[in-house]
Symmetry: C2
Subunit: 398 residues, 2 copies
């Protein structure tokens, strides 16, 4: 899932994202809550109407950013008081109002409010944090069940995606499953321009958002197991693994992912939050993860770091100044079809905005193509691996 | 002509520019000479190959930027010594090496090296400056004739545009003329990715760039007349009016444009440099100007200023925060078809790069649509005027 922090995948117009085959994008509740504010988005028909995106959207709970971006946070059983990183103003997120915000934002998949346990943390801290996340999950679900009809949905056709997501891992087909319904669903006609269009919305009687639970438990396998069991007991249409990629070694991430997956139902989407490099997303998909999100392809692009079938390319390097070849000779994206490394290097060196646009389009294309290949391999009952070649960085191989 | 200062119309991918109907774009010799340097562009097949732009390109002579951007310049009969605004390094532009640079950059239309007379200037200064520009024009042409075969042309099909430009105002059809050849010319196949592709270049035997002369003379009508006559005597396939929009009142600009046009041949393209607002480009086109360039649509877009059929919209204003309407209800561009003012206002307020991309696409669309309407009116033998309406800013009306 490409990350669209404040209702924009940085630098990429929505029609280009569609052309890249992005089925679902992610918005950050913390950022959207601060700017433009939930009420504005709600009045525009939710994120779908606001940003004119007809396909699926997932919002996180805001928890991760509250813990990583804001200052002077105070955590109690009730929730988290924090200061905005924008203007220092004081705010409060509880499970209830994190869900309230996400209902107002109107994504298709929303997340229970959790505490992302820091790394490293001792056993007591990991246990208590995990237990609070479990209690917050129950409160998140209770609030959601009472208020889910308040979703400001407009004429979007992401229903099918939600349906697929809610009934299992259908949208990342496994074991020979055919293309999921969501991908065949007609996009809502006449959704233009962005804004409230309830009048023309197709019937969505009884349809609402899907609330996913989040498993925490730090780097302890037994706490992860306990967290998974308690979250499943509360009951959600999908489960996320949170609290990883927070500074721990990659072997540990893999170990926790692998052991946690064992305790999560295979017939519901399993979402690994905040990963990763191209080889990581392939690795985790092969382990059974259905959904992932990461700022890496978009953020790296803004810093001139491009992912290719032969490893990473730092386009700012002088060695590319007169290189007429494409970023990746094996890539079919619009950028590789049209522009040379020399041109992209020049745009980056000249601080041209087009550098960010084109670099991001390429990196997203590389990520989305990689996942498409993974899905194809899975449908054939095989495990996808990056081709290794002479020019392929070792550290990017599986 | 949208301005693509350093081989990029800021924030807009080339395929979107094509979709907007841009027939020709402008590059700045001064900027390109400093970064990435003429040699790099030349090796990549000129600007067409370097930036992967198959349609026409015009480069200015570098004179205007040398006078407006660089520091510590020293002007002699021989040329101008100046310091780079990037790193303070010292450089020298003469008519010869300004043309040498433009041959290396390989645009379809290139400009004689001129001195842009400052405003205000006294009679003696205006006369001497104009006379030096005339001598520089002769030197520019002499160098061009001796070296024009060195153009690094690659497989681009802008030939037809040059041909049209060189034989008159055909590409802005007047008096019922049909679509010019350039617009029907097939684009070069297989120009991908950007880079030297001489091997596959179509035959261009005997074809080269078109060098235009520039009329100066400050704000004095008789000096302008003399400048026009001397420039015509040297002989060029097209003529530009330079040295305007340098701070003088708009009435004076119009007066000088109108009087100068009288002395320029109607069967050759007449290019007014560096203008203007939407109402100005309509006004000057109606006076007989065939070509114009201006950073206004792109620069204003980056500052959140949008041009519409009802006047200017400053999208940063809080009044648009929950406005579900498009920028311009009368605009058919991709941005107006898909995004609300509320969303664009949010992108701008959040410093999202997408704000610049979408705002620029809209403004260029507005400018190019305006010129298309002007051409249509001219082909009908009529004068195009902006519709005036209740919501139309007075200062944007003709």
């Amino acid at each position: 899932m490409p990350v669209g922090t404040v209702a924009s995948v940085k630098g990429v117009p929505q029609d280009i994202l569609e052309g890249l085959g992005a089925q679902i994008i992610l918005g950050n509740t913390y950022h959207l809550y601060l700017r433009p504010g939930v009420e504005t988005v709600r009045k525009m028909g939710g994120l779908h109407g606001f940003m004119s995106w007809r396909r699926a959207i997932l919002t996180d709970s805001g928890g991760f950013q509250v813990f990583s971006l804001s200052e002077l946070r105070q955590v109690t059983e009730e929730g988290v008081t924090f200061r905005s990183h924008l203007d220092g103003s004081s705010h409060f997120f509880s499970p209830q109002n994190a869900i309230e915000a996400q209902i107002g934002l109107g994504a298709d998949i929303i997340m229970a409010f959790d505490e992302c346990t820091e790394y490293p943390a001792d056993q007591t801290r990991m246990r208590e944090s995990m237990q609070m996340t479990a209690r917050w999950a129950a409160r998140s679900k209770r609030y959601f069940e009472e208020h889910k009809h308040e979703v400001p949905w407009t004429g979007v056709a992401a229903d099918a995606f939600v349906r697929d997501a809610a009934r299992g891992s259908a949208f990342y087909p496994r074991g020979g499953e055919k293309m999921p319904e969501a991908l065949n669903a007609p996009e809502a006609p006449g959704l233009r321009p962005s804004g409230p269009t309830n009048a023309s919305a197709p019937a969505r009687a009884g349809q609402t958002q899907a609330l996913f639970g989040i498993v925490q438990g730090g780097m302890d396998r037994s706490l992860r197991k306990e967290s998974a069991e308690r979250t499943i007991e509360i009951g959600f249409p999908g489960y996320a693994i949170g609290g990883l990629s927070v500074g721990e070694p990659r072997e540990l991430t893999r170990e926790i992912v692998e052991s946690t997956l064992e305790h999560l139902p295979k017939d519901k989407p399993r979402y690994l939050m905040g990963v990763g490099t191209p080889e990581e997303i392939v690795e985790y998909a092969n382990l059974g993860v259905d959904m992932m999100d990461c700022v890496l392809p978009t953020r790296a692009a803004r810093h001139g770091l491009l992912f290719t079938s032969r490893g990473k390319v730092s386009i700012k390097q002088a060695r590319y100044a007169q290189d007429p070849g494409p970023i990746d000779p094996n890539c079919g994206c619009k950028v590789c079809q049209r522009y040379s490394r020399a041109y992209l290097r020049h745009l980056y060196a000249s601080n041209e905005v087009l550098a960010q646009v084109l670099n991001t389009v390429h990196n997203l294309s590389f990520y989305l193509d990689t996942m498409q290949r993974v899905r194809h391999s899975i449908s054939l009952g095989e495990e996808y691996r990056f081709l290794s070649g002479a020019g392929h960085d070792r550290n990017l191989e599986l």
